[in-house]
Amino acid sequence: MSLPEEANQSKQLEFVTLVAGGQNFCIEITQIREIRRWSPVTILPHSPSHVLGVINLRGAVIPIIDLAEKLGFAKIEPSERHVIIISAIEERIVGLLVESVSEILGVSPDMVRETPRNSEDPTTRATPGIIPVGDDMTKVINLAALLPDQGQVAA
Amino acid sequence: MSAHILAIDDSRTIRTLLTVALENAGFTVTTAVDGVDGVDKFQDAQADLVITDVNMPNKDGFGVIEDIRSGDVNRAVPVLVLTTESGAALKERARKAGATGWIVKPFDDASLVSVIKRLTGT
């Protein structure tokens, strides 16, 4: 169905693949600022349960979100082994707690297929695309859809 | 050779407009923010021509021209008065102070440049 991979080398997209809730996902690399090890957070009062708290990232206050829980899986029990992906969603910087980060995946744009709509579960809505990898596939996360601006504040 | 213009005006906007117009025409521009600053800068600026506003704090444009004409440095430099008025009284006053000519604001870049080219021989 698609051109040989080499044909579109110049327009390659890069994704960071990760594991959350035991499944494979990926996030486009341009949305990722850095990847760091889990460190204890400051808990926020009145926050939804997927918001773990905030950390200090070089002087900025960054909220940390449990990506697995946000995608509808069980809560991650954070430990030293877990990883935080610091990502930029529009103007906001948010840290995503994931189980692990695997590799950087380079694909041509036409390899990204639309996710077949078979359900309305939160995972499907937040992953509009899938990329086949070998016998398996990885799901592309749309961060803006997953974490819409909480912007309760207009001022 | 690019002529060096000293532009004296207390309005930042006019200074910018003059600088842009003159630099685009290939002149080198030094600006001064009022009369006293203008006369100060004139002492070391080696200007080939001076453009000065009339209404300015500390020293007005006529004062600037008089200082230049009565000074020891480059006293014969052409000086253009930048004014919003085109009345005869203003011109007489400018002339009396020793102005070479006058430019009426709003000025037209092309005629400003052509006048300056003529007066500086460039």
């Binding site: 400051t42 002087g59 504040v153 | 009396k96 009426v104 604001k105």
Partner: protein, 701 residues
């Protein structure tokens, strides 16, 4: 003409400065504090706006500024007396000019209904001469080359006079310019040179030139070359074919008896000396040293982003300093170690840098207060009341953001004071007061805070009426027992407005609750005091800067948090005798004969409850606007220190009861408590405004 957007932006920025200078000068004139230079400065402000506006073809602005300027010029020249009547018009004109600048900036048409009457008023001071339209006719040198024809030949004779040389002209440049017009033959005439050097005037011109020129279609380009000098020389331009000498008027030299020694006889002209008023000696003009001081006070324009970066970096430096402090303490070095002395120096330097950086952002409240002058004027006009707005402490400096964000609340409060506070002249007279009301707007710095007060000498708050309305609107229960202070604070309750009908002024759908929210958002507080019949005082207390705060470090539910020192009245380690149980789980704190409600901070923040008894914990006695006093229970208090305030809103959003965050010495984040919001959210204290609102500190602007 350049119409580059960035230059236009710069122009509007400059207009802002000029409008401030204008307002300042006009109010000095009104206060009788004006000297000649003040009037000049006012004139120049309008003049500069006009001049630069012309460059962008902002016709409305130019036209109005021109008339305005003409009137000011009359005042400056002493031909027009700046009496109360004229000053009133001038102030209005200043307002309109400001509107026109805004209209031009927003590229919206100006409101002619506003402009026209003021323009007419201005013109009425100018008498018959009115506005000389001719003066701003664009004097472009338009050359017409419509009809290409055979080249004409011109004969030019040119004898420059002494003045020609005295005004920076050079015959060589004139001849060169003519040469550019076509083929020329130049012949110099030296016959004018005297035979002897006796009486020879070195500054004079004895030479003349004859130039034959072939080229231009008409004489216009030739005349253009002589544009500035036609009256400084004998000039004849004739078309050789038609032999029709162009008529060059040379009236200037003939009428000018002083021309012999031009530059020596002309006295140095100071612009202020033009205003030769025949009045008794005025106070001496300000000494020149002051003028020079003003001049050297030149400002530097800096992108605010750069300042913010600096502030952030300094914030990091302070944090870094406390990290090092903490590490050193943990290292248990001997106290005598020089390191501690060095660390103290480091601390001092860091604070000094911080203060310096903060000072960059500090701005006097003066421009803000001047805007309020206008608001007051308009409000008084709209309500047909006589109100004088007096300002004090205009030089008080506050963080730029505070100045900016205070504009709306202050506007609202000034309008409110005039609309609802100050009575009509008749009512005032009946109450034995002066007919014109006085509104005072003051700013002062008090121990780390800025206090802004709005004091009116009006009727004072009508507490029974306020209570009635609050009950009507369901803000309080009909049987609520409230202290005077609590009644006063009902004004700030959401949905409360004392206006019986929507007036022109308060019909903007904002109430005092919005004012309060805005002040709170700035980390400030607002308080009211009022005496029936004598007036009302609103007093706003603001932090000096938004970026740094004095905080008490506390522990709650296992977390380290910060409470602003400004809101803590005292810290209490209670004994059983201080606590009176109320119901099963609540207590009141007995302090100096009063009973104060106790709020468990852990409970409010939803953190795990503390198992310790109240007597093993610490109470922070808090002063709030909504509920007078209350005591916050915390697990322990740790330390008092300056913290750098970080906003939570950029990356996350607003959290009820939390005003921000800071980074502690160990690099961890500590949340900053908003005691006001915590108190307001306590269900026992604020029946209606309690937790049924999901977010009690929700900003509705």
């Amino acid at each position: 003409m350049m119409t580059d957007g960035s230059i236009l932006d710069a122009f509007f920025e400059e207009c802002e400065d000029l409008l401030v200078a204008l307002t300042e000068g006009l109010s000095d004139m009104r206060d009788g504090q004006a000297d000649d230079e003040t009037v000049n400065a006012v004139f120049r402000a309008v003049h500069s706006i006009k001049g630069a506006a012309g460059a962008f073809s902002l016709e409305d602005l130019v036209g109005f500024a021109h008339t305005f300027e003409t009137v000011l010029d009359e005042v400056r020249g002493g031909r027009l007396d700046a009496d109360e009547n004229l000053l009133r018009v001038l102030q209005r004109a200043g307002d309109v000019l400001s509107d026109l600048v805004d209209a031009a900036r927003n590229d919206t048409p100006a409101d002619q209904d506003q402009v026209a009457p003021v323009l007419d008023d201005l013109k009425s001071f100018l008498g018959d001469e009115g506005v000389v339209e001719e003066e701003f006719v664009f004097e472009a040198l338009t050359l017409s080359f419509d009809e290409p024809a055979a080249p004409n030949r011109y004969h030019v004779t040119f004898s420059p006079g002494k003045e020609f040389y005295a005004t920076g002209n050079d015959p060589l440049l004139i001849i060169r310019a003519l040469q550019e017009l076509g083929n020329t033959t130049v012949e110099i005439d030296t016959s004018g040179i005297p035979d002897t050097f006796e009486g020879y005037d070195w500054a004079s011109g004895y030479l003349s030139w004859k130039i034959d020129l072939e080229g231009p279609q008409n004489d216009l380009p030739i005349l253009e070359v002589f544009q500035f000098v036609e009256d400084l020389c004998d000039l004849k331009v004739s078309n050789i074919e038609t032999d029709d000498p162009a008529d060059i008027p040379v009236p200037f030299i003939a009428d000018e008896p002083e021309q012999v020694e031009p530059s020596d006889t002309v006295a140095p002209i100071e612009i202020a000396s033009e205003a030769t008023t025949p009045e008794p000696p005025k106070p001496q003009k300000k000494p020149t040293t002051e003028k020079q001081a003003k001049r050297s006070n030149a400002t530097l324009r800096v992108d605010p982003e750069r300042v913010d970066r600096l502030i952030n970096a300094v914030g990091e430096l302070i944090i870094n300093q406390s990290v090092i402090s903490q590490r050193l303490e943990e290292a248990a070095l001997p106290n005598s170690s020089d390191l501690f002395a060095d660390l103290d120096d480091y601390k001092l330097l860091a604070r000094e840098i911080q203060e310096g950086v903060m000072a960059i952002r500090a701005q006097p409240v003066k421009p803000l207060f001047q805007r309020m002058m206008r608001i007051a004027r308009e409000a008084a006009d709209a309500t047909s009341k006589d109100v004088t707005l007096l300002t004090e402490g205009e030089g008080t400096e506050v963080d730029k953001i505070v100045v900016e964000r205070l504009a709306d609340p202050l506007t609202h409060m000034i309008r409110n004071a005039i609309d609802h506070g100050i009575e009509t002249p008749d009512d005032r007279e009946a109450a034995g007061k002066k007919r014109d009301g006085v509104l005072r707007l003051t700013a002062s710095q008090r121990s780390g805070s800025i206090v802004i007060e709005i004091i009116d000498d009006g009727a004072g708050l009508n507490r029974p009426r306020i209570k009635e309305i609050a009950i009507e609107k369901g803000v309080i229960a009909p049987d609520a027992q409230l202290s005077d202070q609590e009644i006063d604070h009902l004004l700030f309750a959401p949905g409360f407005s004392t206006a019986k009908e929507v007036t022109n002024l308060s019909g903007r759908g904002v109430g005092m609750d919005v004012v309060k929210t805005a002040i709170t958002a700035l980390g400030g507080r607002i308080a009211i005091s009022s005496v029936r019949g004598e007036g009302t005082t609103f007093s706003i207390t603001l932090p000096l800067t938004l970026a740094v705060m004095d905080g008490m470090i506390i522990f709650v539910g296992g977390q380290t948090m910060v409470v602003p020192i400004t809101s803590i009245l005292e810290t209490i380690r209670p004994t059983d005798a201080d606590l009176s149980p109320i119901g099963l789980s609540s207590h009141l704190l007995r302090i100096r004969g009063d009973y104060v409600p106790i709020i468990d901070l852990a409970d409010r923040l939803g953190t795990p409850p503390c198992k310790k008894a109240l007597t093993d914990r610490v109470l922070l006695l808090i002063q709030t606007e909504t509920v007078a006093q209350c005591a916050l229970v915390v697990d322990d208090i740790f330390d008092q220190r300056q913290v750098v305030v970080k906003s939570m809103q950029g990356n996350y959003g607003e959290i009820a009861g939390i005003s921000g965050a800071t980074i502690l010495g160990d690099g961890k984040i500590a949340l900053i408590i908003d005691p006001e919001a915590i108190a307001a959210s306590a269900p026992s204290l604020q029946g209606q405004n309690a937790m049924q609102q999901e977010d009690p500190i929700h900003v509705t602007s």
